[in-house]
Structure formats: C-alpha cells, structure tokens
C-alpha cells in the first residue's frame, strides 16, 4: 500500500478564444448596414410595437416580421448599472454605465454603454443620444456609446450630430447605398484558471520526474493511468498509488497523414494507444523511432523524454518480441 501524499493542486491560466463568424439573415443585415450609415432601424411587430434592436420573429405571435422602421437617435434611459472597472473588449476603457435606452419612436430598449462622469450623473429617465464611431463597418460598435443629451423626445435640437431624429418611426425599405452587411465576426474570449485537480496533480508531478503513477481501485483492482481520483466503474475513490511502465504495448494505432494546425509534427506520424505494463487501460501517444509503416499492434515500446517536458515526447520500440494479442486484447 502506497497512499497518495497530499500535494497542492496545480493551476494555470487557460484562455479560450475564437473568431466566430455570424450569418445575419435579412433583419439583422438591414440593422447593421443601417448603423454603418448612421441610421437606426427597428422592426414593427404584429401588435404595432417597434422593436429596437429588431427581431426576426414576433415575440408574441411567432410570425416572421420584416416591416422595418427608422427610429430616432436620441432616447431615454429605462434602467442602468454602473460599471466601475471595464474589462477588455468593452465599449469604453474608462468607467461607464450599462444602459437600456428606448430610442425615440421605439417601444423596446437597446443595451449599450453610456459615457458619463460617474454614477451620480446617471438616472433612469435621463435623455441620451448616440455617439457614432468615427469609422463604421456594420457592427453594434458603430454606436461608440451613448452620451447625455438635453432635449425633449424627438426635439429638433437633437439633430446636431446626425439626420433623421423623429418621435414617430418612419417606414424604411432596409436598402442603403453600398454593399449590405451580411455577416460579422464575433470574437469570443474566455479567461479561466484551470486546475487538473489533486489526482492529476500527483500524476503530473511524478511524470515530471519520469515516473508514471497510476491509482488502483480498491474494489475492481484495476489501475487508472492517468488517475482521476475515482474509479468510474465502481464509483469509489482511488488513493493507492502504483507505478506502471515504463515500457508498454501498442494496442492499436492510426497513421496520421494530415498536419494539424497547432502541432509541430511532420506527417506521416503514428498516433497510438499504449498500455503501460501494469495499467488497466491504454493511454494515447505518438510512436516513433521506427518507420511509420512498421508500427504494429503488439509492438513493445518505452517512453522518450524531451528535456523539460511534462510528458513523454513519444514512445519508441524496446526491441523486445511483440506481445501476444491475448495479453492486451482487453486494453485496445
């Protein structure tokens, strides 16, 4: 019995980001093309309300709605929340208010940022107007933000910064000069702190010293490599550590002929399932040190460590005779 020592779990930042592409469909296409042209379009729902931002389908009747209407560029804050510490990618780098703004002529409110000196300068019911971005390309950020505005709903003095303010929405055909915006890129980024947990930490720390430690299930006696702290079959904790390997048997494999974007490995290479001696299941790794077309099921292999690597760089033949199929057929 070799109980697992207590160790602090590893942790590291994990950033997940991707530039998703978005097809807009007819209504969002008109809305974003309009923003590029300093025009805000809503859509008229079956009950006569004008929805801004527009929806493709009626939230009450579920019918398709396509009647576009232009609304004003001034509006009224319907509710708000102060954001004292803006994060990356938010509309303003300095503290600002998140606001819901009902634009003049609209019946629903749009979420955006309000540039205000502090929370004391923001209140529900205050009048605001659009501050357009200098460069507009058909995205919601074409509205840089909102700013405080003195003037009644639909008032003419609101028009200093743009055309078309009116309290009553005006029907619009959604057509604008230039090419319509039909798609956008929506970059997403998520920041995590990742921890593999205590069982994996014990495994990873041992692996750094070139030892492969599994954990044995107290009930079925099978050895999990890598360990996960519990046996998924028996549903009990595993805490008896067992060193496995270093040698093992290739139980199955494939020859990879297409280069993966994020991997610096020349093709073809062999990706295999390797059952380390004493392990209850195979782990996955690259097999090298012989021509790729000579890799076979039953091949005996051992790990090759790269300097400073946390895991074996690959596995190479040991030179032993191949293992009998019967010895590894449960470990494919």
């Amino acid at each position: 019995m070799n109980p697992a020592p207590a160790q602090e779990a590893l942790h590291a930042p994990l950033v997940v980001e991707f530039p998703f592409t978005r097809s807009l469909g007819p209504v969002q296409s008109a809305f974003l093309t309009g923003l590029r042209e300093r025009t805000v379009l809503g859509v008229r729902a079956g009950d006569g309300r004008v929805l801004v931002p527009p929806a493709e389908y009626d939230p009450v009747t579920a019918e398709e709605i396509r009647d576009l209407a232009e609304v004003g560029q001034t509006g009224t804050v319907t509710t708000w929340s102060w954001n004292p510490a803006p994060r990356r990618g938010q509309p303003l780098a300095r503290p600002f208010a998140w606001v819901l703004v009902r634009l003049d002529g609209a019946d629903s409110a749009l979420l955006h940022a309000l540039d205000a000196p502090g929370p004391d300068a923001v209140r529900t019911g205050m009048r605001v107007r659009i501050r357009w971005a200098a460069e507009r390309k058909g995205e919601i950020t074409d509205i840089a933000c909102f700013e405080p505005h003195e003037g009644p709903e639909g008032g003419a003095e609101a028009g200093a910064d743009g055309p078309g303010e009116r309290a009553q929405p005006r029907a619009h055909d959604g057509q604008f000069p230039g090419e319509a915006v039909t798609g956008i890129t929506a970059p997403a980024r998520l920041d995590y702190v990742y921890t593999p947990g205590r069982a994996q930490t014990r495994y990873l720390n041992a692996l750094a010293g070139h030892h492969t430690l599994g954990e044995r299930c107290p009930e079925c006696r099978k050895v999990y490599v890598p360990p996960r702290g519990a046996c998924p079959t028996c549903g009990v904790a595993t805490d008896e550590q067992v060193e496995v390997g270093p040698s093992g048997t290739v139980t199955s494999f494939c020859i990879v002929n297409i280069k993966a974007k994020n991997l610096d490995i020349e093709v073809p290479y062999v990706y295999g399932h390797i059952a380390l001696d004493g392990a209850g299941l195979a782990l996955h790794g690259r097999i090298a040190g012989l021509p790729y077309d000579q890799v076979r099921m039953g091949l005996r292999v051992e790990p090759v460590w790269a300097e400073g690597g946390r895991y074996p760089d690959h596995y190479r033949p040991t030179g032993e005779p191949d293992a009998d199929y019967d010895t590894y057929k449960e470990l494919l």
């Binding site: 590893l10 590291a12 930042p13 994990l14 997940v16 991707f18 998703f20 592409t21 978005r22 097809s23 807009l24 469909g25 929806a55 493709e56 389908y57 009626d58 939230p59 009450v60 009747t61 579920a62 398709e64 039909t182 798609g183 990742y194 593999p196 994996q200 299930c217 079925c220 099978k222 050895v223 999990y224 046996c231 998924p232 079959t233 139980t251 199955s252 494999f253 494939c254 020859i255 990879v256 002929n257 297409i258 993966a260 994020n262 991997l263 490995i265 290479y269 990706y271 399932h273 209850g280 299941l281 996955h284 790794g285 099921m297 946390r310 895991y311 199929y325 057929k329 449960e330 494919l332």
Partner: protein
C-alpha cells in the same frame, strides 16, 4: 393493467429538415431552425399555437459560440410563454432530444411537442471546439478521425475484416444521398474506385470514408393518440426508445462495441417486442460518421453476430435494395450538421415507416430503427418507429 397507468402512445405527425449544405450564409441561426420547424408544422397541419412545449438540442455551445442558444431562439420557435427545454449529449443529441420530447408526450405532461436540433458548423470550427489547449496536458495528437481510427483498426484486427469494407459503405451511402434532395453531398460521379483512391487521412480511414461539415436543422412534431387522429398524413408510431451512457475512457471499455450501445439497443427491442432485429426491422438509420462504423454498429445493435458485421455489409444486405437497408438517406457520411445528425437519423426512420422517404424509400418499410451516438462512444440514443400504433 394491474393498477398501473399505461403510457400514452406517441406519434410522429410532422417532419421537416433544411437542405443541408456546407454554409448557409443567407440565414441566421434563428432563420435556419425556423425553416425546419415551419416544414414540420406544415407536414403536421398545425400552427405555432398548437404546440404545447419545445424541446431543442444541439452539440456543444462552443461550436457556434452562442451560449445557451435556446434562449435566443425562443422567439423563432414560438416558445414564448411555453416550456422550452435544451438537451445536450454531444453527437447523439439529436436522438436524445427527440426522446425527451417523446417522453413528455408519453407521460402525458404535454400533448403536442415540437422537437428540433441544429448545427451551423460554418459559424465556427468543430475541430477547434473539441481540442482546447488544456494546461499540463499533452495536446490531442489527432482530430476526430484520428481519435476513432485506432478503434477501426482494432475492429479490423478482431474480426479479420478485409480492407475494402469501409469503401463499400461510403460508396453505398453517397449513392443513397443522390436520391435524397436534402442531403449535403451529391457526388454524381462517385465510383467505388474513387472512394478507394481517395487520400488516406488517418490510416485506416480514407478521406471519402469521413463525414462532411454541414449547416442544417431537423424538426419533428410529436403528439398523442388524439393528435394523431387529426393528422393529415399517416404518422410514425414510437414503439420503443432508450438512452445509455458510459465514460469515454475506463478500464474495461470496449470501444469497438460499447456496452452502453448494446444495452440501449436491447432496451429498445424489449420495449418494441423485437426478438430478431435482423428479420423484424425493415430499415436502419444509424450514426456512421466514419464508414467502418456501419459493420461495427451492425454487431453492436444485434443485427449480426460478433465478427460478422462486415460480412453483412459485403453481402449487399445493407444496400437500399438489400434486406436490411442501412442509411437509405445517405446518412451522416453524406450530411453532418452535428447536433441535428442524430435527429435526422430518427426522422429518416420515421419517414420510412410513413412511406414518405421519396426516392430513397425502402419498399414496404413497417418498422425502422433510428440510432445516434456521441462523445467518444459515450452517449447512445435510439428509437424504433412503426407504421402501426404499438400494441398496448
């Protein structure tokens, strides 16, 4: 009855799908799901007001980067003021979504349920979504094909299957797709030689033996016995449905023929009173993303003895005119909007027993199996549908 309350029989009265393609840049995600839903409602002769609840499924949110898309899609699916449920079980999700909807009708929670699944793969990159760089861990050394290829090799070794079986499946499914106007791939000039000559990507899996990446949606309207009586077209009746799961990796896992898959099938056959699936089932729509999975699942689902699945494929039994047609629609190998792929299997099985499969109709099909799996052979969902109501 012995004092127990019987289940409500469940009927599939509406089926709709999009014409699946690599990229639907003309519609939003809402517009895409809407197309399938409207077609299913039209088929059922119903309107939005007739729907009591909506059950929607898709694969991971990372695939399009819209977190909880069901919230944004409520308007498009007429779900405002109604219960809306989201299901997620990786690639099997289309099947398990239909089963959740079916169970709501069967348990008499709701009378008429719209169920729907989708994927708009063109908005992202599924390969990226499945291979996030996890700290401390060795990067995944191969994509989805590379993950499954060693299991295919293990199957070939275990059964001594000859190398050409995988190509036969791909050639069959691509020819079937030519008869299905909704299928993504329509390779008019496909030949067996072309499949065999296609590049080996993850040996033993060739390029032509892999599925495409598609934008698409599938929807069904499920209803109770009374609803079926009002339907304008013959319904398909649910005779059995089940889901099973197991870990992707565990000591003792049989990745070639997972226990969860065979248990799931056995449960469905028990519910449907099937004792000899090979003889009693007229058509099968199974989830075959890589061609070798046809013989593997033929064994796992009890259509062939262990080691004999490839012989069934080789014999031509699984061809459209064979005695056990598999994937008459062209299957996942011809159309793969991931989240919808499982529901397409379920819906195509229902189309067969309704006699509405068009040019890929299996003549006289009375009972059909829809099958889906997902994750690393981790989730399984299946249903068996028939042309007649189940004996109660």
């Amino acid at each position: 009855m012995n004092g127990t309350v019987s289940k409500e029989p469940v009927a599939v009265v509406g089926i709709g799908q999009t014409r699946h393609v690599a990229a639907r840049r003309d519609v939003s995600i809402a517009g895409l799901v809407r197309e399938a839903a409207v077609r299913a409602l039209e088929d059922a002769g119903l309107t939005w007001a007739d729907i009591d609840a909506v059950v929607i499924g898709k694969a991971p949110d990372f695939f399009e980067g819209v977190m909880m898309p069901e919230l944004y899609l409520a308007d498009a699916l007429g779900a405002v003021g109604k219960p809306m449920l989201r299901v997620h079980t990786a690639g099997s999700v289309g099947g398990s979504t239909a089963l959740v909807a079916s169970n709501l009708v069967s348990a008499r929670v709701h009378r008429t349920v719209l169920t729907l699944a989708f994927e708009k793969q063109s908005e992202s990159n599924a390969m990226w979504g499945l291979s996030l760089p996890v700290p401390f861990q060795q990067p995944l050394l191969a994509g989805a094909g590379g993950f499954f290829a060693p299991h295919v090799r293990a199957y070939m070794h275990r059964t001594a299957a000859p190398d050409h079986i995988g190509s036969l499946v791909a050639f069959k499914d691509r020819r079937n797709a030519l008869k299905n106007p909704y299928a993504h791939l329509h390779e008019e000039d496909i030949t067996l030689e072309k499949v065999r000559a296609s590049p080996m990507l993850w040996d033993p899996i060739r390029y032509s033996e892999t599925c495409p990446s598609s934008d698409g949606a599938c929807a069904m309207v499920l209803t109770d016995r009374e609803g079926a009586g009002r339907a304008p077209h013959p319904p398909a009746w649910v005779h059995g449905g089940a889901m099973r799961s197991e870990p992707t990796l565990f000591a003792g896992k049989d990745a070639v023929s997972p226990r969860a898959g065979s248990d799931c099938a056995a449960d469905v056959y028990r519910q449907a009173g099937i004792t000899d699936p090979r003889r009693e089932i007229d058509a099968v729509e199974m989830y075959v993303p890589f061609s070798w999975y046809e013989p593997m699942w033929l064994e796992n689902l009890g259509f062939a003895e262990e080691g004999e699945g490839w012989k069934l494929t080789e014999s031509g039994a699984t061809e459209l005119d064979g005695d056990l047609p598999v994937n008459p629609s062209g299957g996942v190998l011809s159309t793969n909007p991931i989240g919808a792929s499982g529901m397409l299997r379920f819906a195509e099985a229902a189309l067969q027993v309704r006699g509405q499969a068009g040019d890929h109709q299996v003549e006289g099909a009375r009972k059909a199996l829809g099958h889906a799996y997902g994750g690393g052979s981790q989730f399984f969902s299946m249903w068996l549908v028939g042309a007649e109501p189940p004996a109660s």
